[in-house]
């Protein structure tokens, strides 16, 4: 029985990898995505990927396989099962999947893998990472420019280096506007529950507002919902994260720091589909439109032209290398 299954899987792998030779326009793809523990409806990171692959499905009509992991060990299992079933390419969502994906990618050298938010240095893996610090820098500037009190706030989710990277970029942006800008920072917690604790988010926001903060940037997944709501209730401002969350509370959401994981996921599938696949590391920063800030009909009244000009100038300077935004994870410290 076992032999039969693996043989069938092998046959599938072979057939799919050979496929590009026989097609010219669109490669035969059997895409798959393994969501991480947050689940595909986390209103944030995983959901961004979900939106990207859904867009791919809508545009091409190609179905994809998906799986949501529930524990550490399932990551490797799910990735392997996808590869065995002949899925190609396979997207692993989140840095936590990197070790598992590295292992499985070695076992299936002919299957193409993509990993978001981490680097796996293998010939069949596309690694997509973002310069969140650059995007955070810009929204930090916007916060400082908008603030009347000179105090801006940051609410992080779980206290991990990645979130400190957001915080560090934000702080740099705020201080770039004025050295005297005070940045109040809080992490929601130290367990994964911190990604989904709106009540705590609300409490932290309240206490920051009480300390004179009038804009809060929340990089905290579902916890952010509580921050935004409190900002609206207190008549203060908030900044969203990952996807464009401006629409949630028009008039309160100053902007959102965009991290285009949806584009990254979409492109991974699309490139394979169009036979344009490339492996290797893709670092998506401002220059690549991988990060940015959101301006739409919901927040256009909050952003003055002057602010916009300053931020656009800074963005250009970052792209040009005139401004160097320090990456927390490069030194494990926020010294710039």
């Amino acid at each position: 029985m076992l032999r039969k299954v693996t043989a069938a899987a092998a046959a599938l792998v072979v057939s799919t990898t050979l496929a590009p030779l026989s097609t010219v326009v669109a490669a035969e793809v059997n895409p798959a995505v393994v969501f991480d523990m947050g689940g595909k409806f986390d209103k944030s990171f995983n959901e961004g990927v979900f939106n990207g692959v859904e867009r791919f499905k809508k545009e091409t009509g190609v179905e994809y396989r998906e799986f949501e992991v529930t524990n550490e060990t399932q990551r490797e299992q799910a990735l392997r099962r996808m590869a065995q079933r002949g899925a190609n390419p396979v997207i692993g969502v989140g840095f936590a999947q990197a070790p598992a994906l590295e292992k499985v990618a070695k076992e299936f050298p002919k299957t193409r893998f993509a990993i978001i938010d981490a680097v796996v240095d293998l010939p069949n893996v596309r690694s997509i990472v973002f310069k969140e610090h650059e995007g955070s820098f810009l929204v930090g500037m916007i916060a400082a420019l908008k603030s009347e009190t000179g105090k801006v706030g940051f609410v992080g989710g779980m206290d991990i280096p990645l979130i400190r990277k957001f915080a560090c970029g934000y702080e740099q942006g705020a201080k770039y506007v004025s050295k005297d800008t005070e940045v109040v920072q809080n992490m929601t917690g130290t367990t994964p529950a911190a990604w989904n604790d709106p009540t705590r988010g609300s409490e932290l926001a309240k206490s920051q507002f009480d300390r004179g903060v009038d804009v809060i940037y929340a990089a905290a997944g579902g916890t952010g919902v509580g921050v935004y709501q409190t900002a609206e209730d207190s008549g203060k401002l908030a900044i969203g994260v990952d996807s464009n969350q401006n629409y949630l509370h028009p008039g309160t959401m100053l902007t959102s720091m965009l991290k285009r994981v949806d584009v990254a996921a979409y492109k991974a599938f699309k490139d394979a589909h169009d036979d344009n696949w490339t492996s290797g590391i893709q670092v998506l920063g401002l220059a690549q439109d991988g990060v940015g800030w959101a301006l739409d009909e919901y927040n256009k009244d909050l952003i003055t032209n002057e602010m916009r000009a300053k931020v656009d100038q800074a963005a250009a300077d970052i792209v040009a290398g005139v401004i160097d935004v320090h990456d927390y994870m490069a030194s494990d410290s926020c010294s710039y």
Partner: protein, 376 residues
Amino acid sequence: MSTAPVKIPRWVDVGLIPVINIALAFLVSGVILFAIDVHPLEAVEIILYGAFGYDEALGYTLYYTTNFVFTGLAVAVAFHASLFNIGGEGQAYIGGLGVGLGILALDPYLPFIVILPLAILLSAAFGAAWAAIPAYLQAYRGSHIVITTIMFNFIAAALMVYLMVNVLIQPGSMSPESREFAEAGHLPFMHEVFGWFGVKVTPSPLNLSVVWAAICCLLVWVFIWHTRWGYEIRTVGANETAAVYAGIDPKKVIMLAMCVSGALAGFVGINEVMGVHHRLLLNFTAGYGFTGIAVALMGRNHPVGIVLASLLFGMLYQGGAELAFEEPKVTREMVVTIQGLVILFSGALAYMMKGPVERTYVRIVGMTQRPAAQEG
């Protein structure tokens, strides 16, 4: 003034009632599946095949089973002293920390054969130490063990996050994980072990911990039923007044039972950290400590029952994942719901069916025995 109680044979209590409970859980799950247009029988087939149908699946099932055996035994040992140890999760977490710290410190210098016993000792010592604090608070300060062990789960999680994020994280790493252990710190996978004997088995996370789990079952059985310490634990659990009468110090017994319990929970660290991930990371306990409570309840606190209950939960974890994989309509929340129903029926409501089943049994036996009695 005693009246002879109706004797309910043991198989009704340990066999029939758990089976009925599981059947009920599956029945309710079946209705849910039916409601979302998934054929319940097909779902069962997928779960069974996905859990036992081929060697990789079996590997995963047994890998989960290993964790449940450790945590189930942990809960059971404490339960024999009438202590409800809700802290298996935290003890497993800290046990894993012990394993991780030990291997990180030693793997450049020592060979596997030396590291293995040290790792087992460390996981036991760390798990036991984490259980010893609530045990001390219960025995000498009267704080309820349920409350303190729950609190210690949170403290363990917070401590682990602090250590992983600030101390043990591999420099330059994206996620809070330690460096990977050197080869000497890897517990061999079972597929590797089979490989040594020329048997080819598909890789799975199943590792030599499963053997240790089996040994632990035996050790727990001997400890609880065939040593004077087990005797004292059971005496305190069954009748603390009688224990005092017998010159047994319940405080010491509480400490002993909880330390053994914590040590057993700590062995999850051997399976996860040394056996599967080969690095220290966050959340490797994944709720196994809590599931251990249901396992122990269903297994009636006996190693044999715990092995069977662990297999059931291993099957649900692995087969459930396969179900989510195969049936797009079945989300992982649905799988968690099914697992939850089994826990609900076999754990929380374990005694719901006891009355009706025993009455029915008595009625049936009564009917078959009455003619005989009248003849006599």
